[in-house]
Amino acid sequence: MTTVDDIPSNLWEECPLCHQLLYTRALEKELWVCPKCGYHFRLHSAQRVQITVDEGSFIPWDNDLPLVDPLQFPGYREKVQQAREKTGLNEAVVTGRATLAGIPLGLGIMDLAFIGGSMGWIVGEKIARLMERCVADQLPVVVFCASGGARMQESLISLMQMPKTSGAVGKLGEAGLPYIGVLTDPTYGGVTASYAFLGDVIIAETGAAMGFAGPRVVEVTNLNLPRGVQTAEFQYEHGMIDILINRQQLRNTLRILLHWFGGTRPEHSENAGASSTALLGEMTDHE
């Protein structure tokens, strides 16, 4: 698999939103959030692993699933092969086991670099296996979503990954195990309409684009969606998201949630006061 070291690094990065030139090493320290405008750079799965879980704790699962081409779709086999070579990943999601602040969990991280993070049979299979294995191993699950939607080249087989993964989330629920979904930029289509929006707790990174139909699909309908509808902020205002959060608060929030679900007390938890109010964020009524 790709490691952080393999990703070609430039000395400078330009923020796609405010066009500020940023020193890459400084940006890395900011967890790839533009210090000027707050833009959240899109992350590779390896970067997400690095900033989220305990160093060296991630053990990937199901990395050996064979290439599938159920429709014999023209050019698809080659496209997947190329994506595998380009990214070093076997598909658009990385799954496995890790610890976060010492707490074991099942982890799924989608990777846009692999055919736009689209969901075909392997992505669905890896997500379903993640849920099933976490039922067997009694682990909580966190999935970072980033996806352009369904994998068109697998058509109906891709569509059927939606009920398959949704059903697998249900199995986790029946086992009394928590599932936290993290929606990152961008999350669209079949993934939103299945496991992305089935979390017991749904977290979204600020500014992330998300929606049922991707921008290009909407364009085809000739119906314009008003600007801002397909954003994390819109979804939050409309009751679809629990926690809208800056990436820099994400790991700590996950840590506390995993403690809560596991019934263990987070460390450094002082009796009320500043440490607890830090997370209250916008809920607080103090003006």
Partner: protein, 281 residues
């Protein structure tokens, strides 16, 4: 801080006493849900939205720790400044608030953690926005479903226990009231307006409604009264929060060892028996 005189006895005997309790429960400096959370809950993570329509500021819901124990917490929030009050809709929750509350309660039920609800509402929102989204159904469904949650539920009326708006998060295994809160099927002035077409007879109504904590205890609607510091909770937020925390922990300890099936059966029986005449017992 308060100019309101409190009779030394906890018994609300006269009309004036009942009205005083109502005024104290509505005292502008009375601690609200977030004031309690700040003082008795650590690492609170607020959850938002009903996954249907929106997020209701009149109900705060989330996951936190009380003395290290994981608890899901739901509470009405009124707001103190003009802008907060608008955002919190004066603590009058809408359908999406009750649906958010149930969603968060289900998270706790799923993993077997207890639930605490804090009641402080003049009543549920009754405007067109609420009618159009099914406020009645949302409150009804919550009551039905709170009987089926296999985890301990502790309910504390911290301020105003306003009718359906209150009971929509008010079904539980231990129901407690703060000393100067009230719990009623209707606000006294509204009662006076309906029965006597004269809302100025609110004091009379307050007394007749038997809405004080001792009244509710006598009626068997609540299990216990949590005393308040000094002249009321507004005089010492820290002490008030401590007293609530101790009472909640005590209740959770009692309930912790009861098997889920027994807990739910007892909860049903508890409400089944409320108001039953002696001769039928």
């Amino acid at each position: 801080m308060s100019k309101i005189h409190i009779p030394p006895s906890s018994e609300a005997s006269s009309e004036q006493d009942a009205q005083q309790q109502v005024e104290l429960a509505r005292h502008p400096q009375r601690p609200y849900t977030l004031d309690y959370l700040d003082r008795m809950v650590t690492d609170f993570v607020e959850l938002h939205g009903d996954r249907r329509y929106g997020d209701d500021g009149a109900i705060v819901a989330g996951l936190g720790f009380i003395q290290g124990y994981p608890v899901a917490i739901i509470g009405h929030q009124k707001g103190r400044s003009a802008s907060q009050r608008r955002r919190r809709n004066f603590g009058m929750a809408r359908a999406e608030g009750y649906r958010k509350a149930m969603r968060v309660m289900r998270i706790a039920a799923k993993v077997g953690h207890p639930i605490l609800t804090l009641i402080d509402t003049p009543g549920a929102d009754c405007l067109e926005q609420s009618e159009s989204r099914g406020i009645s159904e949302a409150i009804a469904a919550n009551q039905r479903d709170m009987f089926t949650l296999p985890v301990p539920i502790v309910v504390v009326v911290i301020g105003e226990g306003g009718s359906g708006g209150a009971i929509g998060i008010g079904v539980g295994d231990r129901i407690m009231m703060l000393e100067h809160s009230y719990y009623s099927v209707i606000a006294p002035e509204s009662c006076a307006a309906i029965l006597w077409r004269d809302s100025s007879r609110n004091e009379e109504a307050a007394s007749a409604l038997k809405l004080t904590a001792p009244d509710a205890l006598n009626l068997g609607v609540i299990d216990s009264i949590i005393s308040e510091p000094g002249e009321g909770a507004h005089t010492d937020y820290g002490q008030a929060a401590n007293l609530v925390k101790e009472a909640v922990l005590g209740a959770l300890t009692e309930l912790g060892d009861i098997p889920p099936a027994e807990l739910m059966a007892a909860r049903y029986e508890k409400f089944r028996k409320m108001g039953q005449p002696k001769e039928l017992q």
